[in-house]
Amino acid sequence: MGHDEIEWTEEEREALDRLPREADPGRLLEERTVAALKERGLLEGGRRSRTDRIVGRPGLGPFHPAWWAAAIAAGLALFLGGLALGQARSGITADDLMTALRSAETAERPTLIQQTGSLYVDALASLAADSPDRETVGTGVEVGITALYAAAYELARLHPEDPRLRLVIQALESRPTNGDPETDVHWF
């Protein structure tokens, strides 16, 4: 044949070697793919059924007070590490942290996440200390729980095998709602 006789030069080979063999297509494609699989019934469509199956512990149902308390405690524990250590909390704003997170070295990020968690806890503590009216407390709790859910969900993506995270997510997904879409969903 002789048709395969064109060979790359060393320089050309090196250029080919440098072409990336791996790349991230972006989060949107993942979400789109998951949605497509759900539409086709290839993945569980509802969060509740998914986590019910994952955790599935008889006798400690999703509305059981002990379940709820344990789940919230486990979720808050994700943030309380930062509060307990209390590193560099004073004078740090959320904007400061987000800016730092975006520019931080990988090794520094856990510390910054810890500080962000501390701010979250501080905000809740502040709400409690100010003794606001019932409506404000209700809104604050709802938003706080949604933030907790969002954080737990992201953590579960990082570490899907962690049973604590599944416990938290299941409890949060199965909590009673008041049927009002305006207050039932505070998604980030």
Partner: protein
């Protein structure tokens, strides 16, 4: 045949282990990461977390392959469709996968089929698109002199058939018999396509009368 020392990635079972190892770095408890087979079993049960883990483990490898096969960034939307369709078909077929090959090998095969189907659809929409090589070869219309092509651009500019063989052979490490088997073409056709593809890439990277730009 020069193989450039690339791993035969589509057959590289060890790659599976490397990916598994890489997920361990995110595991504070240093528990062993779930295997592809475990994740697949849970995905079959509808487990979204398991699917996402599997997706994140394998899509970074699948994505550039399909993107290049379909023509680079200009075909990004098609490549996204191909990735999505690949996973849909994979999940649909998981039950029948016998695990006598690496999951990545099997997934890549599905991806290649999806990409080829999209290319065929594209050709049906515009039969003239396969004449693109005429613009790349000596005597054809010159590329825009104001635009400097890099290697990725040059590969993307190839006609679909040439680009497919070049990507599979020179970037993915497939042999001509494997390409022949995968694409359903003769081995000689694969060699011929590669020959023309390399020549066209050179022409694109080294326009007549200009300094060599090999490897840039």
């Amino acid at each position: 045949m020069q193989r450039f020392g690339f791993p035969a990635s589509h057959r590289d079972v060890n790659r599976e282990q490397r990916r598994t190892d890489s997920t361990d770095r995110n595991d504070p408890a240093e528990r062993p990461a779930p295997t592809d087979r475990e994740l697949a079993a849970r995905t079959l049960e509808g487990d979204e977390f398991a699917f996402r883990t599997l997706y994140r483990r394998h899509t970074p490898r699948l994505w550039p392959l399909l993107l290049r096969m379909l023509g680079g960034e200009a075909a990004r939307a098609e490549a996204e469709d191909a990735v999505q369709e690949t996973w849909i078909r994979a999940v649909r077929s998981l039950d029948g996968f016998r695990w006598d090959a690496a999951f990545s090998t099997w997934l890549t095969g599905i991806g290649l089929n999806c990409a080829r189907e999209l290319i065929r659809k594209r050709k049906r929409r515009s039969e003239t698109s396969t004449d693109g090589l005429l613009e790349l070869l000596p005597g054809g219309p010159a590329p825009d002199p104001g635009r400097r092509l890099d290697l990725e651009d040059a590969i993307a500019a190839l006609p679909d058939g040439y680009r497919t063989v070049l990507v599979l052979h020179d970037l993915e490490g497939y042999t001509h018999p494997e390409i022949s088997d995968r694409l359903g073409i003769a081995v000689g056709t694969s060699r011929s396509q590669l020959h023309h593809a390399r020549r066209a890439v050179r022409e694109l990277l080294e326009p007549t009368g200009q300094e060599s730009s090999h490897g840039t």
